[in-house]
């Protein structure tokens, strides 16, 4: 197992390097001059020039790329121009918010999406199937921030059940306020993922339920519940795990928008703020971290895949 993880990590090194190069290129595509941003609008040209030299922006692009890599190798992701903070500490500060949101959203998405998908597949072509698939389809068709605003009008403004924005940290504010501040964003965020997962699970289950071993299970006298839940879903899980990476990617992407609507101080909001403020090192660093995280998530998905499907083994 340890060897398998090592092999898979080694395989992902080229992609990690490319992710780093792409983050670098992306920053250099951005219009404007970081030196001007730092120096401020009414700085003298000489001051701007000095800052530019300090940042190494006067050097040829390949040298900048090289020093970017050398810094990365030492674990330096750069410092924000605006926040007076290193990128890593800015991200670390906001990570709990995004992780809380993602975890809560997954806790809603996984059971609901999978159950709905299984139900639709088992009762295929019936009204249950049609109903579940309609819900799933609406889930993947409705813009999340729009539903978020409507939800705020209903649950926060009209009913006053949950706060409309802001984050209450788990450790300082306690679990109650923490949960109250996140449940609405998490549910909004889950909507798309539930639809996506339900559709995937359904089609995987449809394939599996037609297989001979399902008939074998029934011939053994196993209950329908166990036939579908154990024999069927354990096989469909193989297909569902392969989209695990996509679901997490959608979750991260969705959290950018949802954090913005609910004013949650997470990483997504950090990136958007960075882009608005033209905080180049911050954008570059966070994009890079997102990219790394996603590559590692995919490694984890591959590993889980080998655990779920005994036919696949890394050697």
């Amino acid at each position: 197992m340890f060897r398998a993880i090592t092999v898979r990590l080694m395989q992902s090194i080229p992609v990690l390097l490319l992710v780093a190069v792409l983050s670098f290129i992306l920053m250099h595509l951005l219009p404007g001059d970081p030196a001007v941003v730092i120096a401020g609008a009414d700085a003298t040209p000489a001051a701007v020039e000095r800052i530019r030299r300090e940042l190494g922006l006067d050097q040829p692009i390949w040298q900048q790329l090289l020093s970017w890599f050398l810094n990365l190798a030492q674990g330096k992701f750069g410092s924000s121009l605006v926040l007076n903070q290193t990128v890593l500490s800015a991200v670390a500060e906001r990570l709990p918010v995004t992780l809380s949101l993602a975890a809560l959203s997954l806790a809603i998405t996984l059971p609901l999406g999978i159950t709905l998908g299984i139900l639709a597949a088992y009762f295929r072509s019936s009204w249950i199937d049609a109903g579940v698939m309609m819900i799933a389809l609406i889930g993947v068709s409705v813009p999340s921030f729009w539903i978020a605003i409507l939800s705020v009008i209903l649950f926060s403004v009209t009913l006053g059940w949950v706060p409309s924005s802001g984050y209450a940290p788990l450790l300082t504010a306690g679990p109650g306020p923490w949960f109250a501040s996140l449940i609405q964003p998490a549910m909004v965020l889950s909507l798309f993922q539930i639809g996506f997962l339900a559709r995937m699970t359904r089609s995987a289950m449809l394939d599996v339920l037609d297989q001979d071993f399902i008939r074998t299970a029934r011939a053994k006298g196993v209950s329908e519940w166990r036939t579908v839940g154990k024999h069927g879903f354990r096989n469909a899980l193989v297909a569902v795990v392969t989209v695990g990476g996509i679901i997490l990617s959608l979750l991260i992407g969705g959290s950018v928008v949802v954090e913005q609507v609910f004013a949650l101080p997470g990483i997504g909001r950090l990136v958007v703020q960075g882009i608005m403020a033209r905080d180049y090192p911050l954008i570059q660093g966070t994009m890079l971290l997102f990219g790394f995280a996603f590559v590692l998530i995919n490694v984890a998905v591959d590993i889980i895949y080998t655990l779920v499907d005994p036919r696949v083994r890394y050697d």
């Binding site: 068709s141 921030f145 009008i153 990617s249 913005q260």
Partner: protein, 295 residues
């Protein structure tokens, strides 16, 4: 050259027969029909709708600010007294064009890259690693970054979303090329001396078309949703020219008092995405042989 023609003939005949069968199956597919009608209505509204209301979507009127839906303003009016119905109809032009452009551009580049990687195996590892790296960024984040780099306008959204969806399209095309290139008729064509370009155009491309079209329909839906999200984040097509996304974004600040400003464009986005998703489901059932047809 005669051998090549012989090798090509059965594929073409098969292709024709298949085309006919595909059309018949699509005509019988319920969600395809619903999706088609929905999309057709929205496209029609976007094309001729603005002519029917005969109102300037940017015309402001202080006296008719924040009017709730009524006979005069069926969808109400916004903070500048502009008619929301007209703005939604005009917004449809922009939003649907963005969706279509993203789907077409992703299709062309995705197919080119996917075919290259799948057909010329020597290039495959390099090309696909680059695609993997691009896919490592969540699509919306990549689009935010590129959109911000290129400035807030419709064309930069199209570029940003295309860059995000090209790798995903390329991967799907490559997968079907890998299957096709092992087919016997393709080997036969190669043995009889057909050139790579000829084989790609005559045999490979037509056979990846099914999965590609399915993917592009879904990308169309995603692009419409993403345009709305990017506009909301302030990187969309700039006001005053309406897009569904920026109408919602503008209406957000008044969402409690004037809910209609953001409600109707949001419904339009949802219906358009729903229609495209239904179309995509239908096309997938019929065109993608890996999945069984469920009606």
């Amino acid at each position: 050259m005669t051998e090549v023609v012989l090798a090509a003939a059965p594929t073409q005949m098969l292709a024709e027969r298949r085309r006919f069968r595909v059309l018949r199956k699509l005509a019988a597919h319920r969600s395809f029909k619903i999706g088609l009608v929905l999309v057709a209505i929205l496209v029609l509204c976007a094309i001729i709708g603005p002519m029917l209301t005969g109102i300037d979507p940017t015309a402001m009127s202080i006296r008719s600010r924040f009017k709730p839906p009524s006979a005069r303003f069926p969808f109400g009016s916004d903070q500048y007294g502009r008619d929301i119905l007209t703005r939604v109809l005009y917004g449809g032009r922009l939003s649907l064009s963005i969706g279509l452009s993203v789907a077409l551009i992703s299709g062309v580049f995705g197919a080119a890259i996917g075919v290259t990687a799948g057909y010329f195996r020597a290039l495959d590892p390099y090309v696909m690693r680059l695609m993997d790296a691009l896919m490592a960024f969540p699509a919306i984040l990549l689009a935010i970054g590129i959109g911000a780099a290129l400035g807030a306008q419709a064309s930069s959204i199209v570029v940003a979303l295309s860059v995000a969806y090209v790798p995903r399209t390329a991967r799907i095309v490559r997968a079907s090329v890998l299957v096709i290139r092992e087919m016997e008729y393709l080997q036969a064509a190669r043995v009889s001396g057909a050139g790579d370009l000829h084989i790609i155009v005559k045999h490979v491309l037509p056979n990846c078309l099914g999965p590609l079209i399915v993917q592009l329909t879904f990308i169309f839906a995603y692009a419409i949703l993403a345009e709305a999200a990017l506009s909301f984040l302030g990187i969309g097509p700039p006001p005053p020219a309406p897009s569904w996304g920026n109408i919602i974004a503008e209406g957000r600040d008044y969402s409690v008092e004037a809910w209609w400003v953001m409600l109707f464009p949001g419904l339009a986005v949802s219906l358009a995405a729903l229609g495209m998703n239904l179309l995509g489901d239908g096309l997938r059932d019929v065109l993608d042989p890996r999945l069984k047809i469920e009606t």
